[in-house]
Every structure is written in C-alpha cells, then in structure tokens.
Amino acid sequence: MERKKVTGKRAISKLVLYALHIILIIVVFLPLIFAFTSSFRPLEDLYRYVSPLTWKTFIPIKVTLDAYVSIFAEGYGTALLNSLFIAGVTVALGILLNGMAGYVFAKYNFRGKNILFFLVLLSYMVPFELLSVNLYDLIIKLDWVDTYKALIIPCIGNGMIIFLFRQYYLSFPDYLLEAARIDGMGHFAIFFRIVLPNSKAISISAGLVLFVNQWESFLWPVLVTRSKELYTVQLALSNFSTQYTKNWDQIFAGSIIAFLLPVAIIMPLQRFFAAGLTSSGIKE
C-alpha cells in the first residue's frame, strides 16, 4: 500500500516534469519554428494565415524558395561570405596569438608580467561595446573606416581568450616541457611541436567563442562599415527589418540562415563551446 503511493506520486511528478519540458520547448522554439516554416511560404500566404490562429498559421500550404532567392539577389550572400571571412581570420589569428600569450603568462617569469597581466584582465573586464565608441575615433585616425582591417584587427587580441589559455597552460605538465628541453628542443620548437598539438580541445573552445563573438557582433560593424559590400550578416539582417518592414519572408529567411550556420558549427562541438564559455570565468 505504502509502496504504491510512492510510485504513484513519482509518476505524477514525472508527468509534471515532462509537461514542464514540453511547455518550455514550445515557448523557446515557437518563434524559431514559425520563422522556419514561414520562410518557405509566399508572402501573401504569410499575411493571410497569421490571424486568426489555425494550423495553417504554422504549416505552409504552398512552398516556395522566393524569400531565399530574393535575399541572395539583394546581397545576402556577400554578407555571409564577409562574416565567414572576418570570423575565420579572427579565429585563426586569435587562437595563435592569444594562445602564445597565454602560454608565456603561464610558463615563464619575466619583468613586468604582473602589469601586463593586469592589462589583459582590464581589457577583459571593460566590455568591447563600451570602448568601441572611442576605438572608432582611432579607426578614423588610422583611416581604416569601411575596411576589413577595421572589422578584424581590433577583435583579434582578446583578454578573455588569453585568460582561457593561461588557465589551461597552468596545468600543462612541466615534465613534458622538461623532457623536450633535455632532448635539445628550443623554446619555439617546444611550443609548436609539443604544446600546440596538445592544445586541441582548448583551441576549439577558444575558436568557437571567437567565432560566435564575430558572427554576432553588431555595434562594431554598425560603427565602422559604410558600403553594402562590407555588410556582415547581422547588419544585412537588421537592414531587412528596418528597410522592408513588410517583407517578413525575407526577415525569416535571413534569420534562419544567420542562425543555422553557427548551429551547424557549434552543435557537433557543443561540449567545447560550453567549456570555452564557462571555464574562463567561473574557476577564478
């Protein structure tokens, strides 16, 4: 009797938990699913079926790729390539340069180390958005406005990523470095042939964080780009919504692409992504 009661209670709480899960998933995914299915329907259908609410609001009757064709005709492809290029270069150089700095901070002692590391932490603590207005001033003086340089170079050096690498290298086994040194390897060879090949996981984590930062960056491209040829994905997307407020199908198609591309990159590597985001701050 007693036992039955307990299992009954458990079944109910299980039911409640599943119900909670389903409600949450609906709330979280409704906008995304609506955007996804709507991106494949003709614009007239989109307007016709959005209200009153029926199953036709979500399930397209006629399927078309018009929205996708039209956004690419309006330069969305260029914006995608721009974002991929900017993010790609930032990731490659960001991993290498910040990784080297993090390694030195972890494994070498030298004069001025504390001051330099304080600067790293300071740059990590002041949000990029806040310094970007004055950084824009500098970009004007350098005559970099409306160039890839402006979109890439200021975003490579990253205090958070240096910190991430430093944390990792602090626990990198010294005996491996010592053994290599005894074998007659130089400092550079040790880094590039021993340390770097053993930093795959941390490099993927750092790379994903850098990629997402650049992919989602908004204020900075708004400040330093002028011509449409340099638009990033997010800029092109926001342009759909301010310029053609009525072209919902374009907004949806653009959002879906801008969203699914990082999903395709992050999901197979989600473990590393979560580790990259979380291990930088919580530990210290």
Partner: protein
Amino acid sequence: MRRKNLVVTVFLLPAMALIIIFKIYPIFLGVYESFFTYSFVGKNTVFAGIQNYITVFTDSTVLNSIKVTLIFNVIVNPVQIFLSFGLALLLMVKLRGRKFFRTIHMIPVAVSFTIACTLWGVLLSPEQGLMNSLLNVIGIPNQSFLNDKDQALAWVIVLSSWKGLGYWALFFITGLEEVPQQLYEAASLDGANYWKSLRWITLPQMKRTFKFVIISDTISNFILFVPAYVLTGGGPNGATDFLMYRIYRTAYQYSDMNLASAMIVVLLIMLGIIIGAEAFLLRDKE
C-alpha cells in the same frame, strides 16, 4: 637566458600590442576626451573641465536613458537568472530523454540578439502579428506592443529573457555538475527532500557560479544596444532609450564624441559600483 627573453617578447608582443592599442588605449582616450569639448567658434577642441559630466546629470534625455537602463536591469537580471537556473535544474533531473532535452536547449544559444530582435519584431507586429493571434485566442484584443510606451520596455525584457535563457542555463548546468554527489546522498540519508537539498546544498555550493552569472548578466544588460537600434529606435517616447543606444546616437548621429565619452565613463562607473556591490554580497564568507 637571452633566448628565453626572445621567446617571451616574440610570443607576447603581437597579442599585447593588439590589446594595448585597441582595447586599453580607447579606455583612456575616452576618459581624456570626456574633459574636452568641441568649440564651434575656434573650430578646435578646448578643455571643458567637468562640463560634459554636468550635462550628463542635467540633460533630461540622458537622465531618462539612465533611468530606463536601471529599471530594465532591476527587472531583467532577476528574471533571467531565475528562469535560466530553473531550466538548468530541470535539465539536471534524471529523466528519460534528458540528453535530448539538453541538446535541444543548446540550439537557441546560437540565436544572436539581432536575430532575436528581428524575429520578435515580426511576432509583435501590431496589426497582424503572431502574438496578437495568440492573444486573440484567449480573448485579449490586439495590442500595439512595442509601439505602446507602457508596454515596450516589458516586451524588450521578454525577448531578452527568451534570448538569454539557454545561454545562462549553460553556466548553471556546468556549476550544478560540479556539486559533489556525496553531499546529496548524505542529505537524502538524513531524510532531506529535493527542496531542502536545493536550499542547503545546491545554493551554497553554487555561490561562485551565481556570482559569475549575475555579474556577467549585469554587464551584458547594461550595455544592451541592439533592441533599441533594430526595434524601437529608443521609443516610443524614450521608453526603451537605453544608455548604450543614447551613447551611440550622441557619438554617431550628433557627432559629440566628448559628451559620449563622459556618458561612457559614467556608465562604466555605475557598472563598477553595481558589480562591486554584487560581488560583495556574494563574497565567500570563511
């Protein structure tokens, strides 16, 4: 020895140069510029003392955006923390399909703020948006949402919470997984139920995670810019005129870099005080 110095220099120089030029220098440039002003008479920049700061604290538009930013933060931070911690707890419960649910909730992490805003802009369309259709079903008449000055900020809070949910939950999940299992086992032997364990084991053990998430969340909400830029233009009637957006407009549309710099310094100091208070309240008491 010299070889060692060479290594340190070569490895450190590129990243440090980039950080000093593009991250540290602008901070000091901002502080410096905030004490100057452009003189249209002499067509040059002249020292202005604390004039820009006086403007920040007397100009009604700037004061409004400080107020909007503070109100927004007071509401959105607890909402986001509460919801994402709740989601993390839910995703920790041992349930068939837990892995599936976790993966599912990772997906929206890839939604950028720009995407969130453009999508919600359409959902909240006043004439015939999906949200109005949903409200009609439960008998609520059409609303004008972001065009209504009493509702606009609330909807920005809703869409920001929607956007941040999975992201912040990620940090909580990582923290929850690091709580030693023996603590729960010992507590359940002592007869503690789920809520008691949550109160006396999970929360104290999660203090550091909470501290990190609360501070990071505060920072990101203090510098929020995209909703005002993409959706509302700061309106209606200044209801969503976040300080960061006001700074952007001051610098970019009104070309007053000096006043914008003073606003940045004020925002930075406000942020510093609030984060300091949060860190103090959540300090490790040994």
